[in-house]
Each structure stands twice: as C-alpha cells, then as structure tokens.
C-alpha cells in the first residue's frame, strides 16, 4: 500500500487512527503492528515471511548477546568478544544473504553470463532466477541490521519483546520507503511515548504537506518527464528541462514520502530524524550529500565508512573507503549497473572536490557554485533513471543536440514548460528553504497576524487536499472506448 492512494487515505488511515486512539497503553503497539503487517501484505503477503525471518534473526542475535553479557564475569574477556563477534557475523550474513538473494540474484546471473560470454561463444547462458523484489527489503534489512550492530557495540540495550522489535522494523510509516530509522533513535519511544493533541496536529499537517508534494508536484513533474522523454523530437532546452523535471520528481517523490512518514510517526509520538534538508540548494556535491537521503548516508557512514577506518588511516585508504561507500550506495538503490555507475559518479565528484575543487570554489560567486551543483546533479539523476545504459547515452546526446530525435533549438520548450508552469514554479521555489524562512518571520510577528496566517494555511490545506484527492481519482481514468465489448 502507498500513502498517496485512495485505500490508504480513506480506509486504512481512518480505521487505524480510530483504533489506535481507542486502545490504551501497550495495546497501541499491537494495533500498530497488526496494521503494519496488513499494510505490507497489501502489496506482497508472501514476503512477510522474509521480514519475519530477518527480524527474528536480529532479535535472537540481540538476545544471545544479552545472555553472554550476563555471564560476562564467568567467561574471560577474549572468548566473550569472540563469541559476540561470531553472533554478529552470523546475523549480518543472514541479513545480507537474504537481501543479496532476493534483490541481486538476477544481476549476479547476468554478470556471470556476460563474463562467461567473453570466453566462449557457444555457451548457454544461465537462466535468470526472475525473483520478484520484496517491497522495502533494502530499507527494513538496514534497519534491522542497525540493531544487531549497535547491540554488538553495546550502544543499545537488549529488546526482549519480539512483538515490540517487529513493531519497530515493520512500523508502516517508514516500512517501505524510509527513512531508515535506527533502533537507537526510537527504542525509548517504542516503550513509552507521548503524543498530545499538539503533536497529533503537527504530525498530520506534515503528512498532508507530504501528500501534496507527492501528488501535486512529484506526479506532475513525472508526467512532464515522461512527455519529454518519449517525444519523437526534442530540442536542447527541452532535453534539459526533462532532466530537471525528473530531478524535481525524484526529490519531491522521495522527500515527500519521508515527510509523510515523519508526520505519521509524529502523530503517534515518534520522532524520526529528518531525511532531506533542501539538497538542491547545496553549493557543493559534498554538501549535497549531507542534505540528501540523510538516513542512508549516515547509515553507511556509521556502519561501513568508519569501521573501515574512515579518514584515520591515511589518504589513500580514505579514498578507497569512500569508493566502497559510494559503490554500495549505488548498489543499494537497485540491482542494475546504472545505479553503481551513479554511485561512482558521485564518488568521482566528491574526490574531485576534496582534492582540488573545494578550495578553488571558495573564490567563485555563490550562484556559480550552485549552478555547478545542478549541472552535476542533472546528468547524475539521468543515470539514476535509465536502467538501459544505451538509452541513457542517447538521451545525454540530446542534451547537446546530437543523435537521433534531437532538433537543436525549437519552440517546444515553451509548450512543455507552459503546460506545467504553475507546478514548475512551485517546485523550483519550494526546493529552496522558503517555508522555514517564512516560519521564522511569522513566529516573530504579532498574534493577530499569526491568526490570519493560520486561517490562510487552513484554507490552503483544504484546497490542496481537495486537489490531491481529485487527482488521485481522475488519474485512473484510462478510456478504451472502442474495446468495451
């Protein structure tokens, strides 16, 4: 199930909120767990088993480590450490094994077929396993692993209640598209949390804003990108507009999902960490990566980069560690070579900045740095879109007026931009931190002004909610007028 769909908005959420408010105390977690399992099963009932296995392994690993710690006095330190490491190793192996099998088996077979193809022309390629990707597996595996690793490091106490642990991993707000919430960040709230009226409304507003950003902006940018991408002929400006639209789509789509997740969490009293902080205003790629998908970047920082030695083992080692992190970041996004290339593309620019560009850029005017980041981001996200690298190459050529289907300069950009003008303007404007800026202005204003603004905001919520629902209802309209018999 997705947040921006009619079943979630008109059945799941009202029913959940009703039940969740009625029940008291520990029962709230049970309600949350049951609804979360249903939420997951809506898209993929069978794979629930997979999630149960992953969580059970990590839960058991956590408990085993707990038992070892209790007996710590009896055993000598060395053997305790060895045993804990063994448990960690086994748990991570199972986690990554499942993730690897269910997400990357096809890719591995394709790679083997490609390599063996070099050595023999008469080989019979292996069949692809053709395994359907379990929804959200990359997210929940990383979440669950964070618990085991933090347990190993002694950073979090043992969780003895499996239902609570499963609730943490499967919690529907962040189950299928992040943010990657760490156990350490919610362990206290898992047991006891306070959600007053205030938090409920703050959370619900955040959810609604996320819904608007998804339905009214991201979906529209996606439609614009589709139009430009599939056009027979496009000019150079239109090709750039297309990539910009896709960049805006992916930013709004992803960050809106995080908005909705954080908002829903807040309504229940959870405080999930922010996942996006206006990445498109960054003035270096280095900064971009401090603002983009923060929960993933910090996960790799804490669980891969730093354990590998981070920047403490000399420069060559640091470059290598960064390479690994961004290779994995790319791979994490999908089992196709383009994602890995995308990760390495980011790594290349980060290294470029580290060794040479960041110093020089200090002398550039701010807008130049900003343009540089956007020019870096656009082709990068293009790579993110095209799983077929030859299609990507063909599109990149169009950016420079070369190749089939390019028409250098025509008026077509006026058509594309004109049709999506309000959405484009809002999307560009809201990619900058206008709202936080307005909020500080409002907070400093008089109470009467604040009340007026609250009324304007309320009208806005109503208007955008109506438009969002209308869009969701209409966009299923696919007339096949001549095929209805």
């Amino acid at each position: 199930m997705v947040f921006s769909g009619l079943p979630f908005l008109f059945f799941f959420l009202p029913a959940f909120l009703l039940l969740y408010t009625i029940v008291r105390g520990r029962a709230k977690n049970i309600v949350l767990l049951l609804f979360s399992l249903f939420f997951y099963a809506w898209g993929e009932p069978l794979y629930i088993i997979l999630m149960l296995v992953t969580t059970l392994v990590d839960y058991t690993a956590g408990r085993l480590m707990g038992r070892l710690d209790d007996k710590a006095s009896e055993a000598d330190e060395g053997s305790l450490k060895r045993k804990r490491r063994l448990i960690l190793f086994c748990a991570v192996l199972v986690d990554l094994g499942l993730l690897g099998f269910f997400k990357y088996a096809d890719m591995a077979v394709r790679a083997v077929n490609l390599l063996t193809g070099f050595f023999s022309s008469e080989r019979v390629p292996f069949d692809l396993p053709g395994i359907a990707l379990p929804i959200g597996i990359s997210f929940y595996t990383f979440q669950s692993m964070s618990y085991t690793i933090d347990r190993y490091r002694g950073k979090v106490p043992v969780q003895k209640n499996y239902a609570d642990y499963l609730t943490y991993v499967s919690m529907f707000p962040q189950l299928i598209a992040g943010p990657i919430v760490r156990y350490a960040d919610v362990q206290r709230e898992l047991k006891e949390r306070h959600a007053g009226k205030e938090a409920f409304f703050i959370g619900f507003r955040r959810f609604l804003v996320g819904l608007f950003r998804k339905v009214l902006i991201a979906n529209q940018m996606g439609a614009l990108w589709d139009e430009i991408r599939t056009a027979e002929q496009i000019s150079i400006p239109a090709a750039w507009l297309g990539l910009a639209a896709f960049t805006l789509q992916i930013y709004y789509d992803f960050s809106a999902y995080s908005d909705m997740a954080i908002g829903l969490g807040r309504m229940m009293g959870f405080h999930f960490l922010e996942n996006f902080r206006y990445p498109l205003v960054a003035d270096s790629v280095t900064e971009f990566w401090r603002r983009w998908h923060i929960s993933l970047a910090t996960w790799f920082r804490d669980y891969v980069y730093i354990p590998l030695g981070g920047n403490r083992k000399g420069l060559p080692r640091q470059v290598w560690n960064m390479f690994i992190v961004f290779f994995l970041t790319g791979l994490w996004h999908g089992a196709f070579p383009n994602y890995i290339l995308w990760g390495l593309y980011q790594w290349f620019f980060l290294m470029l900045e580290k060794f040479f560009l960041l110093d020089k850029m200090k002398q550039w005017p701010k807008w130049c740095r900003h343009v540089y980041v956007l020019l870096q981001a656009l082709p990068g996200f293009g790579l993110f879109y095209f799983e077929d690298l030859s299609a990507y190459g063909a599109y990149i050529l169009k950016l420079f007026g070369a190749g089939a289907g390019s028409s250098l300069f025509t008026t077509d950009i006026l058509w594309y931009a004109g049709n999506y003008l309000p959405q484009l303007l809002i999307a560009c404007a809201c990619a900058y931190p206008l709202v936080p800026w307005l909020k500080t202005k409002i907070a400093a204003s008089q109470e009467r002004t604040q009340r007026t603004i609250s009324i304007i905001c309320a009208m806005g919520l109503l208007l955008f909610f109506t438009l969002s629902v209308a869009s969701l209802v209409r966009d299923t309209y696919n007339p096949f007028l001549y095929f209805r018999f």
Partner: protein
C-alpha cells in the same frame, strides 16, 4: 517550538472526518456498472483468486475498483480539469484545448498501416469485378490545425501525409484498381463546424464534405443538400472527448439530422431482427452517447433499403468504423440497398458476402486515420 493554529486544527479535523466519511459512503452507496459520462464499463469487484495475492495483483484491482466507484467521481474529475485549465494547461488527458474552445483528441501516428493495406489488397483481390473505394478520414486535429494551442509539438499535416502514404501502398498493391478519396476536403474549412467540439467524430456537415469528395472520386455528380433537410434533434451532446475532462463549463454540441422526404425506407438490423423505417435511433438522444443516434448504435450488419430508388441502381456495401454512421444517410438516395458492415462484430468476412449478392456493384471502405492501429475490425475486412 512548532505549532499549529486553531483554524488549521479545525480544517484538519474536517479533513479527517471527510476521509472517514468518504470511506463509509463508498461502502454504503450503490455501485454503477457502466459510466455514461465516460462511456465505459466501470471496474467490477475483483473475483477472489489466491494466486493473485502475489505481487499485489488482486489488491491492485481493488484499488482500480475503488477509484472507479469513488463517491462523486464525476465531480472530482471536474475539479481537477478546472484546476488544470486555470493553471494554463493546454493539453489535459490527451486532449488539446483549441483556441476557439473546442476539444481535440490527440492521436499518435499509425504505427502499423500495413494491417489495413493488407486487408484492403486481399479484399480487392477477392473481388476483381467490384468497384472499391477507400476513404481515410483525418481527425479534428488535422482539420483545425490552425486552432491547436501555440507551440503544440505537432508536425504540420502529418495526417494528410500518412493518408497519402497509405493510399500509395494500396495503389501499388492493387495496380491502382482501388479508388481513393482525397482528404483535401478537410482543408476547405466552412463556417459551420465540420467536427464536434466535444467529440472525436465529424458532424453531418463534415460528413457531407467527405461525401462530396467520395462522389467526385467515384465519378458521381456533386449534389447540393437542401438545408431544410437538416434539423437539430439535440443540443445537449457532450461526446467522448468531453468525458476525458468532464467539465460542465464546456458548452455542449448540437446533433443535426438529415432527412429526405423522398425516402421510402426499410431498415433491417440483422443481429436483433428489428425492422424500422429510419436510419436513426431516437432513443439515443436521451442518453449520453447521442452520436449513436446515427444508424442506431453499433451493429454487425445493417441493411438500408430505399424503395424510392429503382432496383437497377444496385447496392453498395460499406465497411466502416463509427465515422461512417453519420455519412451514410447522404448515400441513401443513390442506392436501392446499402449493406453496412461493422467488421468488429461481423465475423463471417465481407468479400464472400459481396460475391453471394449480385446486386452489390460497389464497396466503400471508410476508416478514421486515428483507428488504423487500434480498430479490431480492420483484420476482418477481408
């Protein structure tokens, strides 16, 4: 500390209440099986299939069902269309908003014209003695090209070029034996609308222009139509193009009916066995799909006999999509009998039928250029 205002809280409560209310309403309200407005069957509640649970196939069907039967669906569609129009959008749901306010469906260039060409060639080969004419009809997009939104990414005259290309291959395949009706008529714009403003079909005026072109292609003298023969039978027609927007602020079209007092008609519907004395179906005028007034809807084979015409004038077989329906009345005075085939439903093949009926000396094949890839009947022409 972040907080929300009272007005916001009030609206948020209202939104929550609306979410619950629409959910309950959906469960309680009766469900329609067919949407007149959209002219299509609505999704039915999916039949339970355990294997469809995998990959969310079953739940995907439920989501479709939910959207199709969502309370106030038509109103929601209107809201979003109006918002799009206010936002300056000139293309909504594959419809151009033309500068004079008309709605024009966007069609893609035909990708498999050889389907039609092959059918026509085989048909002509099977009937070496029969006069065959082929007419491909351009859509409103071609006819009102100058009214399309500025900067719309459309190649000029692509429909005329596509039609000329198909005519060329048909001529090659049949040694020029099949006569083709030049679509140049569509560029002679008249003051009166030749296509509906809210539907993809042509009006009877557009059909008359095409009829004249067919007359000259087959060597018939041009006929003037008595304006008095035309009468408005409905002024509240909102067609399928309109349904893609569902916006009541867009004015409806008028349905004109052509009648010649000299007619003496027997119209036989071979599928239902019904016999009438008119090529029209009055009852459609009170429904949404008013275009079905012409030839009374869709039928595999319809036989129009005009006893006012001497038998020597013979018969014609017309193989057509729905565009033919409003043109055929103009042909009634030229033939004793008109056999009208819709090959989507007529499965027995037309060529053998023509061979068995000696009175048929002529055939007209009439299709819209927009239907060449999608019309399921094209394979059945032969």
């Amino acid at each position: 500390m972040e907080k929300t205002g009272k007005a916001e809280n009030f609206i948020m409560c209202a939104i929550l209440a609306a979410m619950a209310l629409f959910g309950v309403l959906f469960l309680l309200l009766p469900k329609k099986t067919f949407s007149e407005n959209e002219n299509r069957n609505l999704a039915r509640f999916p039949e339970w299939k355990t294997e469809e649970l995998n990959g969310g196939v079953y739940t995907g069907k439920i989501e479709k069902y939910l959207a199709d039967h969502f309370p106030g669906r038509d109103t929601w569609m209107m809201i979003v269309s109006e918002a799009d129009r206010l936002g300056g959008k000139q293309e909504i749901n594959d419809v151009y908003l033309a500068s004079d306010g008309r709605l024009i469906d966007i069609y893609q260039r035909p990708k498999q014209p050889e389907r039609l060409v092959n059918s026509v060639v085989r048909f002509a080969d099977a009937l070496p003695e029969t006069n065959i004419a082929l007419m491909l009809v351009p859509t409103a997009q071609q006819v009102y090209e100058d009214l399309l939104p500025q900067f719309a990414p459309e190649e000029r005259d692509w429909q005329l070029k596509a039609i000329a290309e198909i005519y060329g291959t048909v001529a090659e395949g049949t040694q020029g034996r099949v006569r083709t009706v030049d679509p140049a008529w569509s560029t002679e714009r008249t003051d009166a609308d030749s296509y509906y403003r809210t539907d993809h079909h042509w009006t009877v005026r557009g059909a008359k222009l095409a009829f004249d072109a067919w007359c000259s292609a087959t060597g018939r003298p041009e006929k003037t139509v008595d304006e008095a023969g035309l009468s408005a039978v409905s002024d509240s027609f909102r067609g399928t193009t309109w349904s893609k927007l569902n916006d009541p602020l867009i004015a409806p079209d008028t349905i004109l009916s052509y009648w010649d007092d000299s007619w003496d008609l027997t119209v036989t519907y071979t599928d239902t066995g019904e016999v009438t004395d008119t090529p029209y179906g009055e009852e459609w005028l009170s429904k949404k799909d008013k275009y079905a007034y012409y030839l009374n809807g869709l039928h595999p084979l319809l036989i129009i006999e005009n006893k006012a015409v001497p038998e020597e004038q013979g018969a014609i077989a017309v193989i057509k999509d729905s565009y033919g329906n409003s043109m055929i009345p103009y042909m009634i005075s030229d033939f004793r009998t008109i056999y009208v085939f819709d090959t989507r439903y007529w499965q027995q093949g037309v060529s053998s039928f023509v061979l068995e009926h000696e009175d048929i000396q002529e055939v007209l094949i009439l299709y819209s250029i927009s239907m060449i890839d999608t019309d399921a009947g094209i394979g059945g022409i032969f």
